[in-house]
Symmetry: C2
Subunit: 299 residues, 2 copies
């Protein structure tokens, strides 16, 4: 009979993000002390989706915390695609703006691909433009999209080895699953893993997850990953943030991750909570990209 | 006791490529009948690497076969990076050229990334520019690099199901392993597979390959994949083309794939030979991209 004594460690995304924000603040101070204006992030928000309002709010607040300037362009959801493209072009040409994001999702009558293609790659701090995605894929320096970047920063902070490890990414979205899978697989300090991308067409998902040293759950289905799908000692990164009705909360909802935390956590060596795991790291990664954009223009 | 009667089927890349060339010839005839000039591919070759000379030779010959115009710019290996960038710019601006390639490898004193970045994406029929790699990653229409495109065309031709299948790609190169892994994983007719990318840092590679329904061997090590690494009924695609000294050949060498064919073939449902498998498909894929480039400008 074997006895296991395992110390499950909670990955504290909030604490790590605060530490990185402090580093960013220092960098901003040094940057402005050299006579440069502060980094300036703009965000375009179309419509009044509750989640989007919250996320953009967090981003604006985070900018203030680290000494960035921020500008929020909030439009009604009946604006035309042409109007939005024109606003993007204005931001592209505005020398006072270092980087900007177009908060997704956009209303259905606007072609999101077309809008993202219109963002000047040098200001695309979300890393969504094909040329930035291509550079990431090729292992060239670029703006790495915020959530995958945040995940690698967490792994780095906790000294979680990725080289040679089996990583299973659940979800192949353009903003999380796909870029995270490439980052973890490419040659880098937080890469060199053997990565499998699973998705809705995957058969026997449990067989895949059970052999994973690290699982990245990014499919957007609350409590999808259960205890029986995870091997002892695995590292589990939960990217899910679905709003689920919850009458006990003042807001009327609670945020649910893709992981059935109570079942999975006891088996893990490390696990991220929701909220307080990947979420804060996404915001701080956007700040890191914006700082980089500012440093690219300044000196 | 179980008896297996398996019919191993050899994937005939030469025959498939000839069939596609015939289709391309038809398309060219229709295109020029509408008053358009024929598609025109240019190739830049620097130095006298034996393999590169052969590959470029095949490409030029294939152009002739299907009615394309072709231009070969062959430079000495002591040209400067600046000179080469200037030649790329000339081709970018030459309205008589629909697409062009810069044959790799380039001499060490020339930065290949810089050169590939200089190729106008609309003429980048190798699909190596970051914006085209990014579009591939995002599942947007683009020039898919030739070898991965050729592999999907082979799978399509033989009606080999990929959806939900376990695919193991050995090798994470920017021109084969990485783009092939993304293509096979994305939502498409020859996609939707559960893809694992293996590489030099992968541990227990045999465990990975033994659970693969489809193996793409693209690491460039002759006869690396042995019989004990492959499960019964697997599909094996051999991308390797290493020149190995062979005194019995007039040329002094023979081409070796990454697969130990004699051992692996009896276990396979389908397998590509080397030569005559992926190689001819790579050339024909370049033609398909060039035809597309011409059609994008013509009508």
């Amino acid at each position: 009979m074997n006895f296991y004594i395992r110390t499950m460690k909670l990955i504290d995304g909030k604490a790590v993000s605060e530490a990185i924000k402090n580093q960013i603040t220092d960098s901003v101070n040094q940057f402005t002390a050299r006579g440069n204006r502060a980094p300036h992030l703009a965000a375009i928000l179309v419509g009044n989706d509750g989640g989007s309002l919250t996320y953009v709010g967090h981003k604006v607040k985070a900018c203030e915390q680290v000494g960035f300037k921020s500008t929020l362009l909030h439009f009604d959801d009946n604006i035309t695609e042409e109007f939005l493209l024109n606003e993007v072009e204005n931001l592209n040409n505005n020398n006072e703006i270092d980087g900007f994001i177009v908060q997704l999702p956009l209303p259905k009558h606007i072609n999101a691909d077309k809008v993202l293609l219109a963002v000047k790659p040098e200001k695309d701090v979300d890393g969504f433009h094909p040329v930035n995605v291509g550079k990431l894929t090729l292992g060239l320096p670029t703006f790495v999209s915020a959530t995958p970047l945040g995940i690698t920063k967490l792994l780095e902070h906790y000294n979680i080895e990725t080289s040679g490890k089996n990583v299973v990414v659940i979800g192949r979205s353009n903003i999380v699953g796909r870029p995270a899978s490439i980052l973890l697989s490419n040659q880098s300090k937080t890469g060199n893993a053997t990565v499998t991308v699973c998705h809705s067409k995957t058969q026997n998902l449990k067989e895949q997850t059970l052999r994973a040293d690290i699982i990245i759950a990014a499919l957007g289905k609350p409590e999808f990953l259960t205890g029986e799908m995870v091997k002892e000692g695995a590292v589990v990164i939960d990217v899910g943030t679905t709003r689920v009705a919850d009458t006990s909360k003042k807001s009327g909802f609670s945020l649910k991750g893709d992981v059935k935390f109570d079942e999975v956590a006891p088996k893990c060596s490390y696990i991220t909570p929701v909220p307080g795991g990947v979420g804060p790291m996404t915001v701080v990664s956007l700040l890191l990209n914006t700082l980089q954009a500012a440093q690219n223009r300044g000196n």
